[in-house]
Symmetry: C2
Subunit: 177 residues, 2 copies
Amino acid sequence: MISREIFNEAQKKAVEYFDKAHIAITEEEINKIEVADFGLGDLWNTGLEILTYVNTERVCAKELVVLPNQTCPEHRHPAIGDYAGKEETFRCRYGIIYLYVDGEPTRKRAVDPPNGKYTVFHEIVLNEGQQYTLKPNTKHWFKAGPAGAVISEFSTSSYDEGDIFTDENITRAPEVD
Amino acid sequence: MISREIFNEAQKKAVEYFDKAHIAITEEEINKIEVADFGLGDLWNTGLEILTYVNTERVCAKELVVLPNQTCPEHRHPAIGDYAGKEETFRCRYGIIYLYVDGEPTRKRAVDPPNGKYTVFHEIVLNEGQQYTLKPNTKHWFKAGPAGAVISEFSTSSYDEGDIFTDENITRAPEVD
């Protein structure tokens, strides 16, 4: 559960990051910025701010704000019925993002995850202008450095409710008090 | 046919526009910027500079640079076999873009097309942070104002060779001398 106060504060910070990244958004879009705490009630550590530009039956594009040291927790996008699962590309627009996927664990990781269940530790560092494409159903999590980050996500359709989180305490649907 | 000199000049201008728009691209990406004159040999009037971030069998994302008063000529993206045709969203990142689609012709258009065959004149003006989604097979063309523009394109897969241009003198495949 996110309190209205924290929700508003997170939206305001997200707008500041869009400004830092020189990403123009409309007044109407400011109110559409989603604040996700993944049900853990610890937004500044485990959370994400999301502006969805478009999400049709075929294609989706979002801008993600990852606040300083904030983590989007480990999850995957499985197939749902006829839908092959979400394929997504993350492109770093501002700051540095540390992305972790399945594979040989990186010995000296740049960052540690927050409390919770994490199982993949192969590190991919994305600086501004760098990107990485994830096939469907690939476990992943990501964290911003101390300066925060803004990431563009280009993907097939998003069905957030179908996401599977490694930590069973996590729920994707936002609950704002 | 684009001369190597004009190709290089267009790529250099495109990089300047990415800078103006504060869009970070890598050194490797600079060399991947496509310069399209659509076979008309009149790039500064009819042309487009394109950086494709990702183009898989399911999803595509590009950054388009439209130089001052440059026009991307009228075309549509039809179905190809089992593929339903390209659905695309244009989002203006920098400058102003004038987009024309089928519908009631706008009486006082902001801009005129260059020489060539144009048949749709319903005007949509996209300022920074504004976007528009086109369904497959919708005729469209667009032109930048005197300050140029940068547009993000979020779409299903791109098969440029399947595009149908209204002007039969146009060819999509670039030919660089």
